[in-house]
């Protein structure tokens, strides 16, 4: 509860701050301070199990430590994001504090959808996450790409909201006890009535849209490409992970009991997502767009948690969220500072900026899923969960083959950085501060630590 309340409040604070603070840099520090406090408060709630305010939940929210841990992960990543990209947020436009405010609202939405237990909260939460994102996407107002991305995102987002609502409606109508509470909605694994099925499919579709799983992923590349890179980084990592978490919780609690009946759909989703994501990423020349596609590919792996729906899978999901977010934030942070977003723009970075290059390599290796990195552990968990599930081993094999393809495009950047020479001696990256480098190093150390000893994270999930 703390997380939700205080992020909302802090959002307001940032908003009002915008009116009074003239300096461009202050909001950043304000935001970092606020987020740190909120993170601590959330930890407090985790340990004590007691929020600061006793609010009657009425079965709307569910604060078990699992969910709170995820909030921690999400907020932690956001903090890192602030630290790494604060300066870049300032560069986007004039209304710096508003951007931060919006991000805080999104965070409260994140907290909502990772603790919801009523479809209403899910709906509102998703909207709270989406609407500010539409704006952030369009926040680079002079840039037509940004505008276009915003509109595309908005139209399709609204459309998928419609789909979702229809689904919810059918669920409400279909469940005998007419409720929006996901825990009570369905029990037993009797073949589901048509209305429930319809609702399920529609929800599945809209959620797949939000997590950009094929064939509902089409908005992703354009939006990620068009949006200002900082915000791309944010929405491609934290938001996406959060929505995924919501996705899994929804289907686990609401339809877990009849898992087998809808597994086929997930299988199709996974196969399509992995294939399209990886295949399309191969040919991209712009790193930004390539990362957009790769995020689709990663979603394909995360979907395994939905496919398996076991405790292993859920741990895996949290681990994956952390690993993926860390690595992506890192690589995006570096990308933002690059002058040229094409892969050739990275040529010879290894000589000019060794620290950047090495850390970037760690991030990319993690995304590829090379052992010793968190990326490997998370993929490993996912595969284990999938194999444990027993069916569709071919899908697992297919997945690892796709992972091999992913090596293909991730390593193109590594090759560019270390093994290709850039003829001109212009600066490839701008304002690389020591602090920035240190943060990158810390991030990569985190990644490797998680890769060596994932229990650092997974142990928090239950107690």
């Amino acid at each position: 509860m703390n997380a939700i309340i205080f992020t909302a409040i802090w959002g307001v604070v940032m908003m009002l701050g915008g009116a009074f603070i003239k300096s461009k840099t202050t909001p950043k520090y304000l935001a970092i301070f606020g987020l740190t406090v909120i993170l601590l408060l959330n930890c407090l709630e985790m340990n004590s199990g007691m929020p600061l305010f006793a609010v009657e939940l009425k079965g709307m929210l569910d604060f078990k430590s699992f969910n709170l841990t995820f909030i921690n992960v999400a907020y932690g990543c956001t903090l890192l994001f602030f630290l790494l990209n604060g300066r870049d947020i300032e560069k986007v436009g004039e209304n710096v504090s508003e951007y931060f405010a919006l991000i805080f609202f999104i965070l409260s939405g994140v907290a909502l959808i990772s603790t919801f237990s009523s479809l209403l909260i899910l709906f509102i939460g998703i909207e709270i996450v989406s609407i500010p994102l539409y704006i952030l996407t369009g926040s680079d107002k002079r840039n037509l790409k940004s505008n276009e991305a915003a509109l595309k995102y908005f139209l399709m987002g609204a459309f998928s909201t419609g789909i979702m609502l229809l689904g919810i409606a059918f669920l409400y109508g279909g469940s005998d006890i007419g409720t929006f509470n996901i825990n009570l909605m369905i029990s037993g694994n009797a073949p589901m009535p048509a209305m429930i099925a319809a609702g399920l499919v529609l929800l599945l579709v809209s959620m797949s849209f939000k997590v950009s799983a094929a064939p509902f992923h089409f908005w992703t590349p354009d939006v990620y490409d068009g949006a200002p890179t900082v915000f791309t980084s944010f929405m491609a990592t934290i938001v996406k992970a959060a929505v995924f978490f919501a996705f899994v919780r929804l289907f686990e609690n609401a339809f877990g009991s009849m898992h087998k009946q809808w597994q086929t759909l997930i299988v199709i989703l996974i196969a399509a997502t992995l294939l399209i994501g990886n295949l399309t990423a191969v040919f991209q020349q712009s790193v930004k767009r390539m990362l957009a596609y790769s995020s689709i590919a990663q979603a394909g792996f995360m979907l395994f948690s939905l496919f398996a729906l076991s405790s292993l899978a859920k741990e895996g999901l949290v681990l994956y969220a952390a690993a993926y977010s860390l690595a992506s934030i890192g690589i995006f942070a570096i990308l933002v500072r690059m002058k040229d977003y094409t892969i050739d723009g990275f040529n010879g970075l290894g000589k000019q900026q060794p620290v950047l290059a090495v850390t970037a390599t760690v991030f990319l290796l993690s995304l590829t899923g090379i052992p010793l990195t968190a990326g490997f552990q998370s993929k490993f968990y996912m595969l284990m969960a999938a194999v444990q599930n027993g069916q569709h081993i071919w899908l697992v094999i297919f997945a690892v083959l796709c992972a091999a393809i992913s090596a293909y495009y991730y390593f193109r950047i590594i090759q560019a950085m270390f093994f290709k020479e850039n003829n001109s001696d212009v600066e490839l990256a701008e304002d690389i501060t020591p602090a920035f480098k240190t943060l990158l190093v810390i991030t990569s150390i985190l990644i490797i630590a998680l890769g060596l000893y994932p229990k650092l994270l997974t142990d928090w999930l239950y107690f």
Partner: protein
């Protein structure tokens, strides 16, 4: 009245909205079609709530009935917020391109 008629009506309206989204190019109209979809859903929800009202569950606990209608209320709320943002975005785009035609939006592709 059987619920299926309401379902039929709502789904029909919804699909009309979908068709609109698919066939029109004017982003405002597309947006309106989406609103149409939302309304279809609202109607459906209300109908369902009244369906539950008819069932014995509804008799025993009236909250089941009101849930649906409250939900509709929230949908309207959200829709309003969405509209404000959406129109703002459309206007911004119009400022920059003097068009609201989604087909002109293809700087981002492949």
């Amino acid at each position: 009245m059987e619920i299926k008629w309401y379902i039929g009506l709502a789904v029909a309206l919804f699909c009309t909205g979908v068709v609109g989204v698919l066939t029109r190019r004017n982003s405002i109209i597309i947006f309106m079609c989406i609103e149409l979809m939302l309304n279809a859903v609202n109607l459906l929800l209300v109908a369902f709530s009244k369906m539950h009202a008819a069932s014995e569950i509804g008799q025993s606990m009236p909250s089941v009935v009101s849930d649906g209608q409250i939900f509709v209320f929230f949908i309207m709320v959200v829709a309003a917020a969405e509209v404000s943002v959406g129109l703002a975005i459309i206007v911004m785009l119009y400022r920059n391109t003097h068009s609201v035609d989604v087909n002109f939006l293809n700087r981002l592709k492949n």
